[in-house]
Every structure is written in C-alpha cells, then in structure tokens.
Amino acid sequence: MSEITEPIIRVNDLRVNIKMDEGTLTPVRGVSFEIRPGETLGLVGESGCGKSLTSKAILGINEKKCQSSGEIFFQGEDGKTIDLLKLNPRGKEIRAIRGKQISMIFQEPMVAFSPMYTIGNQINECTMLHITKDKKESKAITLEMMKKVGIANAEKRYDQYPHEFSGGMLQRALIAMALVCKPRLLIADEPTTALDVTIQAQILELMQQLQKEMQMAILFITHDLGTVAKMCDRVAVMYLGRIVETGTAREIYKAPQHPYTRGLMGSVHKIGSRKLDRLYSIEGTVPLALNLKPGCGFYERCDARVEGVCDQAEPDLIQLEGTHCAACVHCRKEGKAE
C-alpha cells in the first residue's frame, strides 16, 4: 500500500536475553520488521515463541532480568527518529512515549485493570499524564473515548469498578485506555483471546474502524490465523525467537513457504472441509531457547527436514516473490532469488 511513507517503527535485529543459572535464555533471537502509518502487521506464532517479549521490548516494559539488544527506531510525533532501546526503561523520555505515542492492549482485560480504582479513574490517568492537566477537560476526553469504543451510558460507567464490568466491556475499556491519547502505534497483544467469538468480531471491527479514523499503525500479536486474515496487511510468522516467514497476508495465505507456516495453516479448521478430515497438528512443542543446537530451530518438528543440511546452519530469510520472504533451505531451491 503506502510504500513511499517512512515506517513509524523499524525493529532491527532485536534480541532478548535472560541470564539464568543454567545459561542464557534467548527467547528473541534477531527479529526485524517495520510498520508504516495505517498499516497492520500481524505477528503470528505459538505460545513461547517470543511474540509478547518482542512487543514488550518495544515499550521497554519487560522484567529487569530480560536484556534487550539491537535497534528499535521509532519516529515520534515531532518527526525525529529515536532508538527506543537507548532510553532508560524507567526514565522520563520513554514514559512520555508510553501510552501517548505507543500504547498497548493486553490479552486479559479482567486483570489489566486494578480492582481498586474506577474504570474512569484509570483511563483518565492516561490523559492526565499525557494530554492535559485540566481535570474537567481530561474527563471530557475520557468520556468521549469511552463512548467511541461503544461503552453505553459512559457517564455512569466512568464511576464503576472493573468487577462491575463484563469481559467484553472491560476489553472495550482497555481499548479506550490504549487509544485515548491517539497513539501513532498500537500494540495489540492477543486482544481477543480471552473473549467469546461474537464479542471477538465486534472488538476487531471496532479496532479496524478506529484505526481508519486515527491512521495509526498496529502491531497485532496473535496465534489465531483467522483473525490475522481479517485484520492484517502484512504477516510475520515467528518461531523460536526468529521470524521464519514474512510477506503480505495474501502472499502468505496463498502460498505458505515455510514448513512451520504450512503446519499452522493446516491446523485451522476450514468451513466446507469434509467432516472426516482430521486437523493437522505439528508434533511436539517449541523447544526452550536455552543452549540451542546449531541448525534450523524447527528441525526437530519439521516433516521436510534434510539431514546434514538443516541441522548444520540456521537458514536466513530469503526473498521470494514481491515482499514474501521465508527462512528455509527448500525455499532457496525453488525461490526466484537464485
């Protein structure tokens, strides 16, 4: 779509290390991507593949024991580009960006709010911190955003506590809290996982509509491929801390190249498929990113592995058609890059 515009965020070779007694855990091992204004990038992968750590590294809110390295260039409202990783994670500069320019929606709305304060108080805190010190004006902005995300009777809801909200309403409130300062980048970490399917669709539509209005970029983290197809312009598939395949949603859905992506696609139930077809499942689980052997991270679980090749070196991302890239030795043979 808008190839000419500068990306809002450019993540370059992001690594997250966790020092443990047994050695160094490397849950994120060199992730790179960029997102442009108005664009949605879907970050897809199983639990434990490093999606959430990647997103939290952008905001600098990972636990202290997680050390991030690499570069995260963010273009602020003033047009200047800064490396977020260079900022002190507890300092003023990054706090001025959090919630204001980059904000995040968390996966479980029921625990994302403190039970001790009203919803209004907690959303209002955002505007008080970033937009205005005037209490009346701040409350007005908060109420407007609560109405916008579809919270009926916002004036009354403003003074209610999280335990008086339903799950779907809490997720709306959480979205209101993330969007109230009109951020340039929204990170949505599995925003609909904890909700039932009908509410899911409503929430996703709401997010799309608000994205159009505000022209913000979205990093959409999920393991649900159906949601990705609905929401995302581009997709990055993550496995064991690396991006193994990336491209536009159309490219990836049409012709998944990496065996892992193909496995993921195979494990989605499609309407119209014969009843007796068993859903495909990938054997095993994501290994622990500790003392990794050389070779492809997917080697143990891959049904297309080539002994003597795949267990020697980890393949790099190779450009195939258009923006479609994949990291697999099989792609090298078939792809146009060679």
């Binding site: 809110i61 039970p115 805190e125 955002c126 959480l174």
Partner: protein, 340 residues
C-alpha cells in the same frame, strides 16, 4: 458505606454478650473459688477458720449459687449500675482496681501498634521493591530474628544493655517520683503522658512487645507487595507511562495493605497477650500482670472483667479494620449491595 458501618455495629452487641458468657463460664471452671483458696492459705498458716463466717461470706458473694446465676447477677449489675463486682484479692471494687492500670495499658498498646505499622509497612515495601538487594537481605534476616526471639528474652537483653550503657537500671514504666504520685492520687495518668522521661522509659517496652508483631507485618507486607508487583495491571500501568513510584503507591500498596489491615485486631490481641510475660519481667504496671495474679488467686470477677475489657477492645479493633478494609477495597464495599 454508612449502612455497612451500621450493620457492623449492630452485630457487635450480641458478640459482646456471647463473649462475656463464654469468659465467665471458663473462669469459674476450675474447681473451688476464691474462698477455698483463701481458706487453704489460712489453714496452711495454722489459723483457725470460723465455718459459719465462711458460709456467710459465701452467701454474701453469691458463691453458693450455680454459675449461671452468678453470671446473670454479674451481668445485671454491669448493665444497670456499671458495677463489675468486687475483687477479693485487692479488696476493692473491680472497676477502680482496673482503672489504675487500664489507661496506661491502652496507651502502651496503641503506641506499640503504631510502632508496628510505622516500622513494618515501610520496610516491607522497601524490601519488596528492592527484592534481593543487600538491604532486602538485611531486613529479612532482622525480621526472622525478631520473629524468633521470645519477648521476655528480648526484655532481659535490653534491660541488661541499658544498665551496661547508661548505668541506670530499668525498672517499670514510671520513675519512683511518678509512682508515688500515682499511688497517692496527687498525679493523674494523663499528666504522666506529658513527661519526657516517661516516653524515654516507654521505648524499651514498646520495642520488646512490638518487635515480633512488627517483623510479622514486615514479612506479610513484603510478600503481598511482591504479589501485587507481579500482577498484570502493573504492566498495564507501566505501558500507560505511569511512573514506578506511582505504581507502587497508588496501585500496589492499596491492594497489598488488605491482609495487614484485616490483621489489625489480631495484632491488638497479640500485644495484649504478648505483653503479659514481658510486663512481669520488666515490672510494668499494666493489665497483663494483674490478670495473671487474678487468675492465680481465682479472683473471678477481676479476671472476668479484664478479659471482657480486652475482648471489647479487640472487637473495636475488628470493627475498625472492617471499616478500613471497606474503604480500601471497593469489592468489599459493594459485596453487600449486590446481594440486596
């Protein structure tokens, strides 16, 4: 909120009545009464006891009646005339006997509680926020020592220490001058509170009685804060751009205070019970040693009244902690409303 408090206060009265019944029943359980132990003492000294005089004494104090009759008579006098009975051992009305030590006991208890919270809570917060730092390790070690060392041992050590360092021995809360004044009635207990030397003397008992409770508060505060700091809403607040300080004090502290506040009455009873042995060791004129003497001599009205007063104070503590909890945690405040 008003309704909530009213409901709490109303439940308070039946609890008090049931408590008084149980107390009285238990107090009179041991075989014999004050007169039998008094007579045994006289006989041991070789004195002749007049049986008819004994019978008339028994009748006068109602000791020949069954226990529940004694209880109703006692309760009736309390409710109608605020008369708590007669102390055989001190040979004076119970109320005036207790009045000589009760105010100071309450003062010492409240100050000890204050010490408990003012020291325990901040250190607990510090320990949690700086988990596994050198400071945290030091406070944790001190906390365990404080919880493990018995009060009376602490009292003896501190008394020995003050004697070695200052050269004056620590005996009791009051200087001899004040003690004489109090006994002769030329001085009232509230006048004592204005004296600097009293507060200097107060330090040792407070540290002795309060240390184990303080260390308990410290430990539970630390654990609760760590719990809260690991919750998702903290991450969410951080992602909003809220500062660490505000996260700790606005969000975590309020939630973490819950067990500490609900333990308020427990701390109070801990102070009452824990102070008895320390008060005997340090020769403090508090209620604890008096209760001990009363129980030893089967002075049932005195012992019963002391227990009743302590129970009353603990119930008030519970009431206070309930109100505080409702103020702290909206979920508690609303639980009643939803049921209606």
């Amino acid at each position: 909120m008003g309704n909530y408090i009213l409901k709490r206060v109303l439940t308070f009265l039946p609890i008090l009545l049931i408590m008084s019944l149980v107390i009285f029943f238990i107090i009179q359980l041991p075989p014999g009464d004050y007169l039998t132990s008094y007579v045994a003492g006289l006989k041991a000294e070789g004195q002749i006891v007049d049986e008819s005089e004994l019978a008339s004494l028994k009748e006068r104090y109602g000791l020949d009646q069954p226990w529940f009759m004694q209880y109703f008579k006692w309760m009736g006098n309390i409710l109608t005339r605020f008369d708590f009975g007669y102390s055989f051992k001190y040979e004076a009305p119970v109320w005036s006997t207790i009045a000589s030590v009760l105010p100071m006991t309450i003062v010492v208890s409240l100050v000890t509680m204050l010490f408990n919270y003012l020291v325990g809570i901040p250190i607990g917060i510090y320990s949690a926020v700086h988990q596994y730092s050198i400071g945290d390790y030091c406070f944790t070690l001190l906390g365990f020592i404080g919880m493990a060392v018995p009060n009376f041992l602490f009292a003896i050590l501190l008394m020995y220490g003050t004697y070695i360092w200052t050269g004056t021995a620590f005996i009791g809360l009051y200087t001899s001058e004040v003690l004489v004044g109090l006994q002769q009635g030329t001085m009232q207990w509230w006048e004592v509170l204005g004296r600097g030397d009293f507060w200097g003397r107060m330090a040792i008992p407070i540290i002795v009685i309060g240390t184990s409770g303080t260390c308990g508060t410290l430990r539970s505060m630390r654990a609760q804060m760590l719990d809260e700091l690991g919750r998702n809403y903290v991450l969410c607040a951080r992602a909003k751009g809220v500062s660490e300080k505000r996260i700790v004090y606005k969000y975590c502290l309020r939630a973490a205070l819950n067990p500490t506040v609900s333990g308020l009455s427990g701390v109070l009873s801990h102070i009452f019970n824990g102070s008895t042995i320390s008060a005997i060791v340090m020769n403090l004129q508090l209620v604890g040693p008096m209760l001990y003497e009363a129980l030893k001599a089967q002075d049932m009205y005195l012992a019963g009244t002391i227990l009743l007063v302590m129970g009353f104070l603990i119930i008030i503590g519970t009431l206070l902690s309930d109100i505080l909890l409702a103020w702290l945690d909206p979920r508690i405040r609303f639980s009643g409303r939803r049921a209606e």
